[in-house]
Symmetry: C2
Subunit: 316 residues, 2 copies
Amino acid sequence: MVKILFTFRPPTYLREQLLKKFPQCDFSFYKTIGEAEELQKAEILVTYGEDLTSKHIDECSQLKWIMVASAGLEKMPFEAIHKKQIFVTNARGIHKIPMAEFTLGLMLSHVKRFPELAHLEQNATWNKKLPLQELAGKRLLILGTGAIGSEIARLSQAFRMDVMGVNRSGRQVEFFSGIYQLDHMKEPLQTADFIVSVLPSTKETKYVLTEEHFHIMKETAVFINIGRGDLVRERVLHQALKEGQIEHAYIDVFETEPLSKDHPFWKMPNLTVTPHISSITKNYLPRAFDIFLHNLNAYLHKKDDFLNLIDVEKGY
Amino acid sequence: MVKILFTFRPPTYLREQLLKKFPQCDFSFYKTIGEAEELQKAEILVTYGEDLTSKHIDECSQLKWIMVASAGLEKMPFEAIHKKQIFVTNARGIHKIPMAEFTLGLMLSHVKRFPELAHLEQNATWNKKLPLQELAGKRLLILGTGAIGSEIARLSQAFRMDVMGVNRSGRQVEFFSGIYQLDHMKEPLQTADFIVSVLPSTKETKYVLTEEHFHIMKETAVFINIGRGDLVRERVLHQALKEGQIEHAYIDVFETEPLSKDHPFWKMPNLTVTPHISSITKNYLPRAFDIFLHNLNAYLHKKDDFLNLIDVEKGY
């Protein structure tokens, strides 16, 4: 029997679905990896990807496959995994719908001035003179053109926006009217009305957005970061907003999370803090399970059509 | 010289555009119709459509064409206009972009719980546990399938929503996966997650949404009215929300506007008031002028391709 070990406890209906569909497998569900007693017997490990250490990998003498039920792989002990020739898949792609909806929601809330309309309502004030704007005709620059960036681009084009993108290679991608290489991003930054980052944290993206970039952005530009907090140093972002170099920033990811209670970002009028929540959705686990089920079928029937296979050497 | 009289004063750049493009016309711009001195000489009248009375029409002995720089025609003295065989055009269609963006903004703000996220931020509280939802997969029912309703439907389909519509005839319309007749709207009302009305005020739509309709809606339904305030009696809406028959209402239009300072709607936690602002945009007048310019060209060159010609007998 194929031994499958979870280091988190999915809701009952998802567990029952697994037991029913795969009677040939032996499932164990633990609340945390600390409670998991049979690591050495597990052939397949299902994890959120933040709990594994190289010591765990050493313990797993039967392990062939790790399914990460999230998209983040920064904390995975890839060296140990590579040494034992374990293969890894993740749930890449399931974030694109909630994150793209969140981004479009922020952009619309900004142009339609919902926070100010809420303030008017609190004061029972009828003011029709608030000048609202539109997304239509505005220019959007998306840093990152993978699944999430492309979904944001697709929706933004539906809103009649002009959508540009930045990626490593400069290769063209559907739903973008133009693509720039990461080291040539100054040009599109100068004309963008909205700049959205969905970049992951890698050697190439760490602190890649600098003081100079904020200097050349439009004064009316809106910056949205739902990727990773280390895209820009906190003091650079803080300074740019304090000096009013751009109009507003919506920041969902930070260098240190949770953001401390006394962090100055909470109180800045032109910076909106959200608690790393853009990918949260009730549909998260069911979508991750769809991918796992597909891959488990492939594994059991020795078919070579795994979804989201990770290059263990590169780490993505 | 063709005498063209405006009963409002457009901004300088739009006035200059007209003077330059149509030297064969004699333009007068007045702040209000009360200040207009040469009504009896005007061959063309440009108005927002809320200032004309049958008395004015009687005065206009040379009048051939009225251009209404808005979509609302409820206050037009059509009987007097019909008697004198004056033709009418309006700016129908220019509202669709801002109103559709406003609607999608409200729906996204609702599922992403932006007001609650703003509240968390005010208290410097990092809470990742707020369960956010998605538009994807949700069912939307749009009352009214004209230019505005269709634009909302187009965008909502891009968000992977299931979009149904209600119109007078039940005729199929692009971007809707199903259409119901106005007098058969009970069926789709029972399953809709979002109900959006963009209906104008006519004999058939006045108070067409009743107590019974709110009874059959889902308890989690969200009602958005950006059409006209007399779609539903205020006390019906008030009662439905007080009893929690639906989850939330976003109301932009009211039976009496402005909403009085002491109106109970301002303070209801599950009703959001906005000040009849969904169509407001900086691009409003330029778009209305594009239509007027096209029609003025047609008029001067006696071509028969007027945009947005109104049936004066029917009033729309």
